[in-house]
Symmetry: C2
DNA sequence: GACTAGTGCGCCCTTATCGTA
DNA sequence: CTACGATAAGGGCGCACTAGT
């Protein structure tokens, strides 16, 4: 069942069918309706390959996810899936399909065929952006906002503000010696740290940064070592909820009471079941925004990069 | 840069280029090598749409994920992402791309164009399988093994065995009154319950099943209510780690000691950071197997459905 | 002549089929 | 039989054009 068949049935030419199905004003409304009806009743399905061949558009977007199996970031993965939910809402509605790939696979394959790439996560030192940009496709990057170039737009949450909110909160609670746990070679984490230490030093309190991977065990070990060192602290701000949970493990082991002796804040609000104060962002909206920017790029516009607001969720680990 | 351009450069016909790039034996090795070299140096990329149009194959597989935002299953989502990793390994290597969609989006969209569908999760009462099978595409379903039809294959982990392992373990620890927490309208959960109660009743111990959704709060509430009722129990087997954590919350609140008074086992081993005994499966392998079955279906074979082995991970929540 | 509603033809790039040296 | 070529789809859409108001 092709357009030609439909055309015969409707006693018009193929191009009229084509236009009718695309709701072109060049076709009278009655004819359009009739053709739509015929298409539906005969189970006609557009041949996507033929359209792509002709229009040189694949009507498909590739999302590149960070998924290095060697890295232990079990709690950060759902984030990718939540963004994908938002992407799908927008893209499917606009007739695009979403292809998925990992960074390593993307570099080997031809990136199949896509009209654009949505990069979820820049990786350490932002090297992922450079690698993928070589494909020379319109690209939208989730992560830290960078100077946009013609074909590249950045969307990210306001990590600086997130850090600042945490810092302000801890200072308001009277905390004076704050530990930050996180790997600041990750640019998003670096922003959180800047925001945090800005808010804190403004009040005269002090911050120490401890390098720490994205795992619960890393958080535990870092804090255990710090307790061992004996340098006092009364609050911890972690780069993720998982790290914060690890920190609380170490505190519990050392019989340090949370939040009375040490307040603990996480990030990303993935551990909503816990009593962790954290910073939340609207992942669904992030996904929808990424998709909107991509469609805008494809339409030949030059959309601006955009920062998404964040929200501090206060729970018992800091206040109680 | 098309095949015709390459043909001119190599002073052969387009069809020879086509054959050479596919490593056909109909082209002399020297010619093949030369054409490969030319293609690489001129940055030639196959036009996927043209190939699809001609061969009537999209070289693309769609994975349908469960992602109903109303359902609160935050911990089960990473599982989908882990399976996807395995899918990508196999599919990209074999030249296929992976498209992603949700159940709701899949039903609205034309399922774009794909050679087959991989359904991740059958949903309650297996209704998802029926809905998607209407597209009449080769389909591989992750979930409970059902009678396979011509175009449909099932791959799932051995839930019965998983339940049995837990039951055997609890019985070996001397537990006699075991609570099962989970929604047995979910067919996978039902299998776990069967395996569990089989192992348990064989030893003369008894099982009680409590209906319970897939959330921590549901686990907590169910167990709190059971404590309230006063009916004694000395072990809990939950349908997921999240539910098990909720159960432990309720036990802790009632000052019941784990595992001395009540042993607790989860399922899926998503809470690896905790001290929860659980049942683990190899998600990566599951994804690779799903992809293999799909490619086999596409090759016109009739692969068999397959159960994947599971492994009991014993930790402090049952033994210690 | 300007507009509306529609047509005919060719092209997009690859590969299957058949043919030939 | 081996190695290659000419031709013809495959389905949809853009372009240039026309018949009828």
């Amino acid at each position: 069942m092709t357009m030609a068949d439909l055309a015969t049935l409707a006693k018009v030419s193929k191009i009229t069918v084509s236009r009718a199905l695309r709701d072109s004003a060049l076709v009278r409304k009655e004819v359009r309706d009739q053709i739509h009806h015929l298409a539906r009743s005969h189970g006609y399905r557009l041949n996507v390959a033929a359209r792509s061949l002709r229009t040189r558009r694949a009507h498909s977007i590739t999302a590149v996810i960070e998924m290095d199996p060697s890295e232990e970031r079990p709690m950060s993965e759902p984030l990718a899936l939540m963004i994908i939910g938002g992407l799908l809402q927008v893209l499917t509605m606009r007739g695009y399909s979403l292809a998925l790939t990992t960074q390593t696979q993307a570099l080997n394959s031809t990136l199949h065929d896509s009209d654009g790439v949505i990069l979820l996560g820049q990786g350490e030192n932002d090297e992922a952006t450079g690698r993928v940009s070589r494909f020379n496709l319109p690209m939208v990057v989730w992560g830290r906002i960078q100077p946009a170039s013609e074909n590249v737009v950045f969307v990210g949450s306001d990590n600086f503000e997130g850090g600042r909110l945490v810092g302000e909160h801890l200072v308001a609670l009277g905390r004076r010696r704050i530990l930050f746990l996180g790997d600041i070679t990750h640019s998003e984490v670096a922003d959180r740290f800047s925001g945090l230490s800005g808010a804190i030093s403004a009040s005269g309190a002090i911050t120490r940064q401890l390098a720490c991977a994205f795992s619960r065990e890393a958080g535990r070990a870092a804090v255990a070592a710090e307790i061992e060192r004996g340098e006092p602290f009364d609050a911890i701000a972690a780069c993720s909820d998982l790290v914060a949970l690890g920190a609380m493990d170490a505190l519990e082991a050392a019989k340090i009471i949370v939040p009375r002796q040490v307040a603990v804040a996480g990030y990303d609000d993935t551990a909503r079941e816990s009593r962790l104060t954290s910073v939340r962002q609207d992942w669904d909206r992030a996904g929808r925004l990424l998709a909107d920017k991509m469609l805008s790029l494809l339409a030949g516009e030059r959309p601006a990069s955009e920062k998404l607001p964040v929200e501090l969720i206060v729970r018992g680990s800091t206040q109680g």
